[in-house]
């Protein structure tokens, strides 16, 4: 039993409390989903339950917290670790050891547990999380999803009663995320754990959540069964939006729960399959790339046209990043790359980057200056362009950073940092913009801001290529879609068939209304539906 009463907490560096007078209760053996926009205090709230807040963070705390009768504020994180285990957002950054089983044993070593008992415990949790075959593997050789499983195993080795996961899937691909959450749900049943998960994406967990806690950006915290809370939230998964549109009561939380619906005659308007090739600004033909003897890109054709957003979707390891790097000439490849008719093999890197901007997966890699404005100025000077203060401010305004020009980029939020990086790579006004996984780790609000930027660029007649694993985001934006699998183009063309016909890439709306060609909540035509 977890009870929180009148909890208020303020970080030492902030003026306003991030949590204000929060009251919560969590029953043992339940799964609680904690959601809310970035910066609303989800992580802080969860960290209050094992004493990391305030013992680790500093700050001022008031109110009472009771976790199975223990007060984390007076007990501290070390003592709470017997009761509460914690899994963090970044899979790579939470490991002490570089071998799976060593990492799992870390918490047990800290307790001075006898070796035989420790070995037995490690066996047991490895069994629960299906890690037995990975025990001796180096952490660097396993996937992100497997890393998070190791983190869970490591957290569960001490046999705690509560398992807390702080956005455990934000860095994972959809398949890895779905698999990880399955493990969590199964563990809850098997071990009778009390589970609390913070997540941006609700769709996968809603069917399993006993309780939903919504922390809005300021305002009252909502708590209750998902069906009671969802109607009060603005950002909800497509299935809930469609359910609301149709006035379903009770709301369906999974595709299986969704009532059978008959849709009257839908004519599939055939959309034109992109522009003719002559107009394309960037043209790639039969591109091949190998890495360490493995074929990464296989006879790949691609063209980007002005004023179009092309979305590149595919699972991890499909070759998306390699494709972008090959286009930029950062990795060796064979085939023809033409930029506005010029053979890119004959262009220098600086000639390429003056026309093609590339946002790598981790935008923080780009930022090092003292202020946002300075970042832009540095890019201009790298391109030997004149510094023009007005131009820079106009440019920043487009990214919603007008008031952030003087800020230290590293102090900004994740979304703002990403937009700073975007501003910094596009200030020289390139024609083509390539973005690698820009949606990773973003909440709804930041994804919306990103979509607005992409739309703005489309209006400016730029050619845009975005890789993403977020099918819903892709569906909202795409003019053209390329489905990539194992280095091969599976499909290239208009969005509708891409998001309705390929099981792995079907949007939630497409799953609800098969054979209609609808793939976004906005496509759903209530007037065509007869038997609700």
């Amino acid at each position: 039993m977890i009870e929180i009463n009148g909890l208020t907490f303020k970080y030492p560096t902030q003026a306003m409390p991030v949590l204000q007078n929060v009251h919560l209760a969590v029953e043992p053996g339940t799964l609680t989903l904690v959601t809310g926009p970035s910066g609303s205090g989800k992580s802080t709230l969860l960290r209050c339950l094992n004493g990391l807040v305030p013992h680790f963070s500093g700050g001022e705390i008031s109110g009472t917290i009771s976790v199975y009768g223990k007060d984390p504020v007076s007990a501290g994180p070390a003592e709470m670790s017997d009761l509460v285990s914690f899994v963090f957002q970044e899979p790579e950054a939470q490991f002490v050891y570089d071998i799976v089983e060593d990492e799992i044993a870390f918490a047990l070593e800290n307790r001075g547990m006898p070796r035989e008992v420790m070995a037995a415990r490690v066996d047991e949790v490895c069994g629960h999380l299906n890690l037995t075959s990975l025990r001796k593997r180096p952490i660097t050789e396993i996937s992100g999803g497997e890393m998070q499983r190791v983190a869970i195993a490591s957290a569960l080795a001490t046999q705690p009663k509560v398992l807390i996961l702080d956005e455990p899937t934000s860095q994972l691909d959809p398949a890895g995320a779905a698999e990880l959450l399955q493990y969590v749900v199964a563990l809850k049943q098997q071990l009778g754990l009390t589970v609390l998960i913070a997540e941006h994406r609700l769709d996968r967990l809603l069917p399993f959540a006993d309780q939903l806690i919504f922390l809005p950006d300021g305002g009252q915290v909502l708590q209750g069964v998902p069906r009671a809370i969802l109607p009060k939230m603005t950002q909800v998964p497509p299935i809930v939006r469609v359910g609301k549109q149709l006035g379903l009561d009770p709301l369906a939380l999974s595709v299986e729960e969704f009532p059978a619906i008959h849709v009257d005659s839908v004519q599939n308007e055939d959309q034109p399959d992109g522009p003719p090739d002559e107009q394309s600004l960037l043209k790639i033909q039969s591109l091949n790339a190998n890495l360490a003897g493995q074929v990464i890109l296989d006879e790949l054709d691609l063209s980007l046209a002005r004023g179009q957003v092309t979305v590149l979707i595919g699972p991890n390891g499909a070759g998306k990043t390699t494709l972008l790097r090959a286009i930029m000439g950062l990795t060796s490849s064979e085939g023809e790359r033409r930029l506005d008719g010029y053979d890119m093999d004959t262009l220098t890197l600086s000639e390429v980057i003056s026309r093609v901007a590339y946002l790598p997966q981790n935008p923080a890699d780009l930022l090092f200056a003292d202020s946002v404005e300075e970042e832009l100025r540095l890019t201009l000077s790298n391109h030997n362009r004149q510094f023009d203060s007005d131009l820079i401010h106009q440019h920043l305004a487009r990214f919603g950073l007008a008031d952030k020009a003087a800020r230290y980029p590293r102090d900004l939020s994740v979304g703002e940092r990403q937009r700073t990086a975007l501003a910094a790579i596009t200030v020289q006004n390139p024609d083509i913009i390539l973005l690698d996984e820009p949606t990773r780790g973003l909440d709804y609000a930041n994804k919306r801001a990103l979509a607005a930027i992409l739309n703005d660029w489309r209006r400016q007649d730029k050619a845009i290529l975005v890789t993403t694993q977020d099918v819903e985001f892709a569906a909202q934006l795409a003019d053209r879609v390329i489905l990539l699998d194992a280095g091969r183009v599976q499909f290239q063309g208009a969005p509708a068939p891409a998001f309705t016909q390929f099981p792995a890439f079907r949007t939630q709306t497409a799953q609800l209304f098969p054979n209609t060609g609808w793939y976004l909540p906005r496509d759903v035509r209530v007037d065509r539906i007869s038997n609700v």
Partner: protein, 339 residues
Amino acid sequence: MTVSATWVAWLVASLILLLSTRNPIYLFVIIILLFILGARQARRKGRHGWVHQNLRFTGTMLILSALINTLFTHTGQTELFVLPDEWLLIGGPFTLESLLYGAVNGLVISALYLLFDVFNLSLSIKQITRLIPHAFRPLTVMTTVSLTFFPAIQERTRHIREAQMIRGNPMEKISDWLPILAPLLVGSLEDALLLSESMTARGFHARNDQPDNRLVLVGLILVVFAAFSGWLLRLFAYPTWISILLYSLGAVVLVVVLATAGKAQHVTSLHQDDWRRQDELAFTLLMAAGLGLIVTLVTKLDAGFSYTPFPRLDLPEVTLIGLCLSLIPGIPLLFKHHD
């Protein structure tokens, strides 16, 4: 022979041997044995070119050492040639004895280097890390963290470098390091914050407010003093037994103090070396050989260990005992190395 303890025993026994002999014949035997052993261990680790690389090193050391000694030391009877005395430091007769003395020095240095190189080849980084006493648990964890993050940081550095290049940074001047170093630092520090949370949440606490800490510190100070004064007394030719007494006293205090402080840390380790019959045998053999060596040294048995070309050139003498003891570094060759 895989167990850390056997390799440590090997290292210590071989080190004592190396430090007590200046007989070039023995040194040759030792170096050849180390080369054979090193070649085997390097092959196991896939380190090609190890033999070649170290042959070159040994050769260079030999020549360099001989040359430097000849340049600076001008005693000896067999003069090779003479430089004018006015030449600062290097002026004077160049003698064959100095040359030989320097060459023997080179042999000792090469053997020492080889010895530790083979040791590094034979134990994994993990095994070496596990040799750090439990008393230094926070530092062991720090080391482990470094080793775990090392490849990730290498990888991140490559990413950042690429990111800066496609932003138009030409990467030509030293000041172009900053665009790499700054994001690297900030990213790493953010990782460090998360990591320390993750360690804290799993019951690790570096701060140890043990009441015994003071005692441990005093003990360690005593150990340092014991080692230092034992050495100093020996340097100024006081009776050897005083030094030996001080050394042993220091060793005992060190063991007691580290054991106490280690116990206070309340940690255990998942891993334990897997002792096979071979390891037990190897360990016993090494201990016996080491003991034999020490007895030989203490009783001043004539093993032909000491050799000097001064004041006049002689052939080094070889005894059966000395030759047998020179084989100590080769003991691991008798055993297989399991993984």
